[in-house]
């Protein structure tokens, strides 16, 4: 049986399984409130929470973009293990303080924190909208990247029987269906299964690659021969970029709306802490593995362009499947694992987008069932728009999309991380800082075409200016700035 036929069968079974979980989740729902739909009734236990955090954090970018980046940049891409771990480290600064406030206040979206912390100030609502706009822009970008990656993989695993265009449309429709039916329960449960599939697939692929290369030492020796610069000690600018990437990814990922919503959705604080403890090891198992996959491609494929480099993983899988007919089934498993990683991120992003737009942007009540319905409709509209965009804009690298998203998201950090530790911070200066930081990130990064200055991301430079404005403008302390880093008792 050919890889394409096996791929179609595997894809069909996988999608049928997702639909089944969606229906199971629909039957398990308690009511139509946003808390039940978007946070699974705040009942996620350690196992499911850990797996959904994992599946949400590791996306199409991690599975397709990172091997491509390792292929392009060589061994210095080991930095990705560091920056993915930084996400779990940086959360020490936010989750233990945010969680009790969120539970007491019945928070559903990130904007509920802004409303709680700054809601009594004149600029509070404007800040909530500005944060929501940045988050929506970043998430829409992220969703677009996932859809693009899904289309690529579907076409690859079925050897073109399912085209890129059909793959994007079909998979987007399946995600929309199970998410609309089952909300966070469906997303978390499918994430759990998808995580296991992803881990299994990656382990199988890296085992084959290292065996085929003759071990790690032989792989390094091959790289030293075929592209010695990939193994050399990085230049100062690359080291600066390494440090900057750790700061950018760690801080920006902390304000991922879908991650913040999982902080709200945990069954208890202890459940949350245990899940983060387990998450500490996932960069070693996942990011290091995909880096090795990208490095293994260096001696195998010479001179892939930037866009082609995103296809390193599919190219390797194709080679693997062709090496022996028995490997074809294993290659399909890896393909489906990668697809699972992408879909699990896309569904979480979509769920967050619906709630953010309905509650934080449009200001609907976070306890009303009508808000859930509105969120579902918005999610459907966004999914259709992004799927359409994914069909026409294909020549953008996945890593480029991640960086753009992070540069925007990181500007929300003062409104969360600094505001939760600094009672004197006020809404007006935080809003001004956010605008200044975003202006620098977008103006210098996109306008002037300088995404990095001496290796440092412009988004990070924007954040420094952003924090300085927020901090400096909140001095001296005012009555309004003294309140609300405590738990709400009046909601």
């Amino acid at each position: 049986m050919s890889l394409g036929t096996l791929g179609v069968i595997g894809l069909g079974l996988y999608l049928a399984g997702l639909a089944g979980i969606g229906e199971w989740a629909r039957r398990s729902r308690r009511d139509a409130t946003p808390a039940d739909h978007y946070l699974a009734g705040r009942e996620l236990g350690v196992f499911v929470l850990f797996l959904t955090l994992y599946a949400t954090g590791y996306s199409g970018n991690s599975l397709l973009g990172y091997p491509g980046e390792a292929y392009r940049r060589g061994f210095s891409w080991i930095m990705s293990t560091g920056f993915m771990l930084a996400i779990v480290v940086v959360y020490h600064g936010l989750a233990p303080k945010l969680r009790p406030i969120a539970i007491a206040g019945g928070f559903v979206t990130p904007g509920d924190w802004i409303a709680h912390r700054f809601g009594r100030e004149r600029a509070g609502r404007a800040l909530q909208i500005a944060v929501a706009v940045l988050m929506v822009a970043a998430l829409a970008n992220f969703l677009f990247a996932q859809l693009k990656a899904m289309g690529l993989l579907a076409a690859q695993v079925t050897e073109g029987i399912v085209s890129y265009e059909v793959g994007v449309g079909l998979l987007a429709a399946v995600i929309l269906a199970y998410e609309t039916l089952g909300g966070m329960r469906a997303v978390a449960w499918t994430d759990a299964g998808q995580s296991l599939l992803m881990l299994l697939g990656l382990s199988a692929l890296v085992a084959w690659l290292l065996t085929a290369a003759g071990g790690l030492s032989a792989l390094t020796a091959d790289i030293l021969v075929s592209r010695p610069e990939a193994a050399r000690v990085p230049e100062a600018a690359e080291c600066a970029n390494w440090a900057s990437s750790i700061a950018l990814m760690g801080l920006a990922s902390m304000v991922y709306p879908q991650m913040i919503q999982r902080v709200y959705a945990a069954r208890s604080g202890t459940t949350l802490a245990r899940s983060f403890a387990l998450m500490s090891f996932m960069p070693l198992l996942t990011t290091t593995t995909v880096t090795l996959i990208g490095l293994a491609a260096i001696p195998r494929f010479a001179d892939l362009g930037d866009v082609q480099a995103d296809r390193v993983m599919p190219l390797l899988l194709g080679t693997w499947a062709a090496a022996d007919p028995h490997f074809a089934a294993a290659a399909v498993l890896v393909f489906l694992g990668a697809l699972a990683a992408i879909m699990s991120t896309a569904d979480s992003v979509l769920l967050s987008l619906g709630s953010l737009m309905a509650e934080d942007l449009l200001g609907r009540d976070h306890r009303a069932a009508e808000t859930t319905l509105l969120g579902k409709r918005i999610a459907a509209a966004v999914m259709i728009a992004m799927a359409g965009l994914a069909l026409v804009a294909r020549n953008i690298t996945l890593w480029g999309l991640i960086e753009l998203k992070m540069e925007l998201l990181i500007q929300c950090v003062p409104a969360f991380l600094i505001a939760i530790h600094t009672p004197r911070l006020r809404a007006g200066p935080v809003l001004a800082g956010l605008l200044v930081g975003t202006g620098i990130a977008v103006g210098v990064g996109l306008g002037l075409g300088l995404p990095r200055l001496a290796g440092v991301h412009t988004g990070l430079i924007g954040l420094v200016a952003n924090a300085a404005v927020a901090w400096g403008g909140s001095w001296p302390r005012t009555r309004a700035g003294r309140v609300r880093t405590t738990c709400p008792t009046d909601r």
């Binding site: 245990r274 500490s280 090891f281």
Partner: protein
Amino acid sequence: MRGMRGSGHRGVARRRLRRWLLAAIGVLYAASIPWYRESGAAPQVWLGLPGWVTVALGCYVAAAILNAIAWWLAEVSDGGRDEGR
């Protein structure tokens, strides 16, 4: 039971240990970046990888272990009484 975890001398010791663990993670991060090595130099191979990569990976393994312990020690309350002060 959970409410009692963070109280008293034991709770203070846990918080202090957690702060030390986080500081150690910061040091490991600084050591993981090969800024202190001669840039462009041909690598020595250690444990199958260029030496500077082995050091970076070793730092991340150690940081992951310390971070897991720090989360294990973390007191994440659901009570919500003046937690932000």
